[in-house]
């Protein structure tokens, strides 16, 4: 049985000291070990940005693609070999700005990929510009007078897009985060886990202290039922999205792979490439 150490490599992350992403990396490694995965049967696909580097910091197959496109790449990997555990990851700019089209459609398509967003409400790698997750009035290099666009409530959006596993966490809560990632991996279908992962260098508003003050744990809400979509929407609206825990899970919706006609349990990558003569003759005869 693998331990989280099996998912470590010797690459030193180039994240700033104190960056929330360190804990996200640790949580993924622990969840992978807890889920009894092996490094060679796991693929981490990531986007571009500080957080996008994560696929290079975890010992498993890793694909660091292009900005905003981690999800289509990850879905392609999963369709090609459903025997693999596929994790997609990236930042809030990657997933909710340039890649938003893919995020919404990955949510409704429901291919079995676990998507972990490291949400710091700012663009870090480009040194401090606004993000779709930045609050109104948030001052950055690209919004010197304060942002005049409203922040996107991604959890509400995921819920209305038909998400089957929607969760949110805070990078300091390693225990909850690890558990949510584990549950996301176990979930049959697309799972979205948004993680508040503070940027200690460029975001001086949404700091660790700020989150501690403003976040509500769903486990502290009496009788909260994550299978109740209406309750999920209500709690998100009531707390302006600032909740952590499993927000919503729908186990009755089968994943995309199970709905594809003729799709086999064996990974497509292991199946035959050849066409028999008889099949070929049948196919060509259809054009005669």
């Amino acid at each position: 049985m693998a331990t989280f150490k099996d998912f470590r490599n010797n690459v030193k992350p180039n994240w700033c000291p104190g960056c929330g992403d360190f804990s996200v990396q640790a949580a993924i490694q622990r969840a992978a070990a807890n889920a009894d995965l092996t490094p060679e049967n796991m693929a981490v696909v990531s986007g571009i940005g500080c957080s996008g580097r994560i696929s290079g910091y975890i010992k498993s197959y890793g694909f660091h693609g292009i900005h905003g496109r981690s999800l289509p790449i990850a879905q392609g990997v999963k369709m090609a070999n459903r025997e693999l555990t596929v994790i997609a990851s990236g930042g809030d700019g990657d997933g909710f700005a340039i890649g938003m089209g893919h995020t919404i459609h990955a949510i409704r398509r429901n291919i079995d990929v676990t998507y972990i967003v490291m949400d710091n409400q700012i663009y870090g790698l480009t040194k401090g510009q606004t993000s779709p997750r930045s609050d109104m009035g948030f001052k950055t290099k690209s919004t010197p007078g304060g942002s005049i666009e409203s922040a996107l409530n991604v959890m509400e959006m995921a819920l209305s897009a038909g998400g089957t596993f929607i969760a949110q966490s805070f990078s300091t809560d390693l225990k909850e985060l690890t558990s949510l990632i584990e549950q996301g991996i176990a979930h049959k279908g697309f799972s979205l886990i948004n993680v508040f992962s503070p940027c200690v260098t460029f975001n001086k508003v949404n700091t660790y202290d700020w989150f501690k003050e403003n976040l509500t744990k769903l486990s502290d809400i009496e009788d909260y039922d994550p299978s109740d979509r209406g309750a999920a929407m209500n709690v998100l609206m009531k707390h302006n999205g600032l909740v952590t825990g499993l927000i919503y899970r729908n186990t009755s919706q089968p994943p995309y792979e199970e709905l594809v006609e003729g799709f086999r349990d064996e990974g497509l990558a292991h199946q035959s490439l050849t066409l028999g003569k008889e099949q070929f003759d049948k196919l060509t005869a259809e054009f005669m």
């Binding site: 490599n9 060679e40 694909f63 496109r69 999800l71 089209g101 003729g262 497509l268 054009f287 005669m288």
Partner: protein, 580 residues
């Protein structure tokens, strides 16, 4: 009796014009005639003039014709638009419902036939096209029974009664025409041919079938004219082979999803036209730097932007070769017949895996949508080669903290490829410059090493590529060499005998491998001719520029057409003649 003729059916879009042509030509194909069909259509669903022009011959052909023998018209607009194409003594078969009249000065024979009325008397006006097919068949000296097989195939699912009604419509159309034409001596009786089972397909069918035969099992794609038929065919067939098609949210998703699937070991393609290819450019670069195999079909249409979505053009050439920022190894191939589209698509998957790079199969609207008779495809020519990739290979254990050297250069620049799931093969893949293990590295030494490794990979493509240039060098020393690519091949082949009749010695070269460019072959062919004319459906002479750049040749003439329509053999004949 005649050996070839051209027939056109026209009316309002949404009126069944396409299916009329389809039924007519499928039946003739089954009789053993060679067919070539080209649709004139607009980017809308209902309304607007549309037509389907079909050439019938006792011999193989792959070009549209200059003129028209028979016009079937469901409205007056069809007559007004298309009558000028008719030969002297041509025939118009028009629905009497539109009170048809001939344009002034036309010496065509007009037959007003109650297509709609006869169809109505049989139960539904929908069958007016079958009445028109009946009238056409009588004019060609065919029997209504010749259409029975196709009618059964199309309407069989709806039951015998529907089949019989449609056959009644064919018979009544034929009888009405025979009665009207009796004693006039008007006939386009086709010389009989031996019945022969040949395929009748569009280029996109051949590409899709080639993908299936070539081992492609996954296709993410976004609908677009004129590429959609490829995904539509594969979504029907792939489930039988364990695979599938995903209709993605856009072309960026289509391309990156295909990259993901190829990375994980499945032969995967996407297909689009100019607008989609423009969106894919960044991803093509990702395939290049990560050395992930990728096959993309570009069915060129009129550009730029939305351009002429349903019209012929060959203006993506430079974008396909040089598109995407930075420098990557890339293969661009351009089949020029439906048969080649089949074999070349298979080869594209082999090359993509052997060279671990993006391969673009360039087509154009006329090739992708032109429907024609195709000689039998050879099963024994299907070959799957995966290059330096063996998914079953057992690899030695890696040192602690070491990754598999996925990007090591063994000399030819092509590294061993491994996929997720394989033991002892873990490595990193990134669009950032990386070292042998795939880990990011910015050092100048590493940059040079990796750039050199990637850029030298394609050195051997010329040695293995099947026929980089199709060449008809009938003359050791020719007056003229005509060079083209993609769908102009048949048209050039038809123009050449006419030019030779005028006393010119003409050779023909069709470039099939656009990149890396077969400069040596083309240079040799050019040396065999006094003049070189490059024939292209674009305004800037992209192939001519490419030839100049790659061969250093200065003296090239260009024959260009960029009005949305394919070249006619006659146009090409005159344009080439004028060069002398």
């Amino acid at each position: 009796m005649i050996t070839h003729l051209s027939w056109k059916v026209g009316g309002q879009q949404g009126e069944g014009i396409e299916s009329t042509g389809e039924i007519f030509s499928s039946a003739l194909n089954r009789l053993g005639y060679y067919l070539y069909g080209y649709r004139h259509f607009s980017s809308r669903i209902k309304g607007g003039h549309t037509n389907n022009k079909i050439r019938v011959s006792t011999n193989p052909l792959n070009a549209i014709s200059d003129d028209l023998d028979i016009l079937v018209a469901f409205d007056q607009e069809t007559i007004d638009v298309n009558a000028p194409e008719l030969i002297s003594g041509g025939v118009i078969l028009a629905d009497s419902k539109c009170k048809p009249s001939k344009p002034e000065h036309s010496d065509a024979h007009l037959f007003s036939i109650p297509f709609t009325e006869i169809a109505n008397s049989l139960g539904t006006s929908l069958m007016k096209n079958m009445v028109a097919i009946g009238a056409s068949s009588a004019l060609l000296g065919l029997k209504p029974e010749n259409f029975e097989g196709v009618v059964k195939q199309i309407f069989g699912r709806k039951g015998d009664a529907v089949v019989q009604k449609n056959m009644d419509a064919v018979r009544e159309g034929a009888a009405y025409f025979e009665k009207e034409a009796a004693g006039t001596g008007i006939s386009f009786k086709l010389a009989p041919v031996e019945p022969e089972k040949r395929m009748f397909m569009i280029g996109n069918d051949a590409i899709a079938l080639g993908a299936l035969a070539g081992g492609a099992r996954f296709m993410p794609a976004y609908p677009i004219t004129p590429a959609s038929e490829i995904m539509e065919y594969l979504i029907k067939k792939l489930p039988d082979y364990g695979g599938t098609v995903i209709q993605t949210e856009d072309e960026i998703a289509a391309c990156t999803m295909a990259i993901g699937a190829n990375y994980a070991g499945v032969r995967s393609l996407t297909a689009s036209a100019g607008p989609g290819l423009s969106l894919m450019m960044e991803s093509i670069g990702l395939s290049g730097i990560t050395e992930t195999p990728l096959v993309i079909v570009d069915t060129q249409r009129g550009g730029p932007s939305t351009g002429l979505p349903t019209k012929q053009e060959q203006s993506d050439l430079m974008a396909m070769i040089y598109g995407s920022h930075g420098e990557i190894p890339k293969i661009v191939m351009a089949p020029s017949t439906v048969e080649e589209a089949f074999y070349d698509t298979i080869e594209a998957f082999n090359l993509a895996e052997e060279y671990q790079c993006p391969v673009i199969v360039l087509s154009d609207l006329a090739l992708s949508l032109g429907k024609q008779t195709v000689e039998p495809l050879d099963y024994d020519r299907i070959e799957i080669r995966r290059g330096k990739f063996d998914p079953g290979r057992e690899l030695p254990e890696l040192e602690k903290n070491e990754y598999f050297k996925r990007y090591a250069d063994p000399g030819d620049g092509i590294s061993e490829r491994v996929i997720p799931g394989m033991k002892n093969a873990i490595h990193h893949v990134t669009g950032v410059e990386h070292n042998e293990q795939g880990k990011p590295s910015e050092s100048p030494e590493n940059r040079r090493y990796q750039m050199n490794k990637r850029m030298k990979k394609l050195k051997t493509v010329h040695e293995t590529f099947p026929e980089p240039v199709y060449a008809d060098t009938r003359h050791e020393k020719a007056d003229l060499l005509i060079i083209g690519f993609n769908s102009t091949r048949g048209t050039i082949q038809e123009a050449i005998p006419r030019l030779e009749k005028d006393g010119l010695k003409v050779n023909h070269a069709h470039v099939r491998l656009m990149h890396p460019f077969p400069a040596e072959e083309v240079r040799k062919l050019m040396a065999q001719a006094d003049k070189v004319a490059v024939v292209e459906n674009n305004a800037t002479g992209q192939l001519a520029r490419l030839i100049r750049m790659e061969t250093g040749a200065g003296n090239l003439e260009t024959v260009l057409k960029y009005d949305g329509n394919p070249f006619l053999p006659g146009e090409l004949h005159h344009a080439c003649k004028e060069l002398f």
